[in-house]
Amino acid sequence: MNEQTRDQRLEDILDAFMAETPSPHAGHVAAWVRRYPEFRQEIMDFAASWAVLERLPEKRNTVTDKKVRERGLAVFQRLREASATGAAEASEPITGLVPVGATLSALAQRAGLTPAFWRALDRRLVNNVPSQIVAVIATTIGSSVAAVDQYLAGPPRLAGKVLYSSSEQPVLGEKTDFFDRVRRDLNLPEDRRAYLLSLEAATPDDHSAGGLEP
């Protein structure tokens, strides 16, 4: 387990620990230490802090809620600005929708699509992709909406490993409408298909038209 995965797993376990136990009392902590011996020390340390947090008396410092909030605002603003900069950087043309190390099926599953559908998107064979799905794709591959939009707007491309005779012109395929493809993709679960088709009823810029306009 690499460090990041371990940290994430620990966080999940501690979330569940707090959700399922009423207090850091010995009996509860002992049970969780037995359940996850590989995180014994971390669970004990966390439970000890929980106990101390609950037992300490009223305020000893002069920090105000306003000051705490200001710190938070600074963090959120900085991250938003960094994201805007990052988005601009991420808007550099991307070369595909299957990042190195990722698998087609994992990407498709995360986005609620089928591998075949994702492959078609990767080959730029789909047009009229709803903004919500563009956002999902961007999130899934860790890119920006703008970069994905730009990529999908490009001409169809060949699949990565297509072999063809040098005397033949490769067939690139034609772009098809997103919703036609949704209707034709028999491997999409029904509830997912219904959701995707519900996006058709909306205007092309569904959420901005329906509300929450910037």
Binding site: D12, A26, A47, S49, P57, R60, V63, R71, G72, A135
Partner: protein, 264 residues
């Protein structure tokens, strides 16, 4: 009825089931998505318990929606609402830290929370299901790390108590026994709200790591030494011998007695 355009969660819980938002949170999200930013600005201020209130779990969804559809104005409104609601709690939780430590720890919580809430993967899904629990867990983790840093020095200072027999000899044994008896009464006192408040005041006077050891032993019933091979004990937590922990408890109880005497 759930709005089918709301993006489902994908993260798995400990039972390998996908986290699910509560149905009324989905309803709130659906309603909020139909509002303009100006309307939403008013809506996020509706207090808890009143019609139209938006739960924090719904706000987390809206924050992500704003981020991934590049709507900075919306993102500001939602982030601001979350900060309004959470700052008081965070300030309260870090009440025992110094001004500097409290603010540094608060910044750390905000940083980690924000990173999770706008992560491109599903690591923040839990916050759309049990926001306050996740937030408290995060604050507790940061508190733990902060106190650990602060305690590094005090634990070093406490090393002089590593071998109490050398320091106190038989006297330590006899003091330890009498402290055990007095502390058993404290364990009872922890259960009484009125006495617990006074005890909490007394605990504030004790230095670390004695205080933490005392709380764990008599507040939470942790064993000094692991007897079942699980490696769960105060001794294991601090990485010190059971005898050292016993001495820390003696020190803690003596500090409490001294403070109580001064108060009376």
């Amino acid at each position: 009825m759930t709005d089918s355009s709301i993006r489902p969660l994908t993260k798995l819980n400990q039972q390998n089931e996908v986290y699910q938002r509560l149905p009324h949170v989905d309803l709130q999200i659906g309603e909020a998505l139909a509002l303009s930013v100006t309307q939403l600005e008013a809506r996020v201020r509706v207090p808890k318990g009143e019609d139209g209130h938006l739960q924090e779990e719904a706000l987390v969804y809206l924050l992500r929606h704003a981020r991934f559809t590049s709507r900075p104005a919306l993102e500001d409104v939602v982030a601001s609402a979350l900060l309004d609601r959470c700052s008081g709690y965070l300030n309260h939780w870090f009440r025992s830290l110094s001004d500097d430590d409290s603010l540094a720890a608060s910044s750390e919580v905000w940083e980690r929370l924000a990173m999770k809430l706008v992560a491109s993967d599903d690591r923040g899904d839990f916050y759309q299901v049990r926001f306050w629990l996740g937030f408290q867990r995060l604050a507790t983790t940061v508190f733990n790390e902060t106190v650990k840093k602060i305690n590094e020095l005090s634990v070093e200072r406490a090393r002089e108590w590593d071998d109490p027999a050398d320091e106190l000899g038989d006297e330590a044994e006899s003091r330890s026994a009498s402290v055990d008896r007095a502390a058993e009464e404290d364990a009872e006192a922890f259960l009484s709200e009125k006495v617990a408040a006074r005890l909490a005041e007394a605990l504030a006077q004790i230095k670390e790591p004695y205080r933490e050891a005392y709380i764990l032993r008599f507040g939470e019933g942790w064993p000094i030494e692991s007897t079942d091979g699980s490696g769960f004990s105060i001794s294991d937590h601090f990485g010190r011998t059971p005898r050292t922990i016993s001495t820390w408890l003696v020190k803690a109880r003596e500090a409490i007695d001294k403070w109580l005497e001064e108060q009376s």
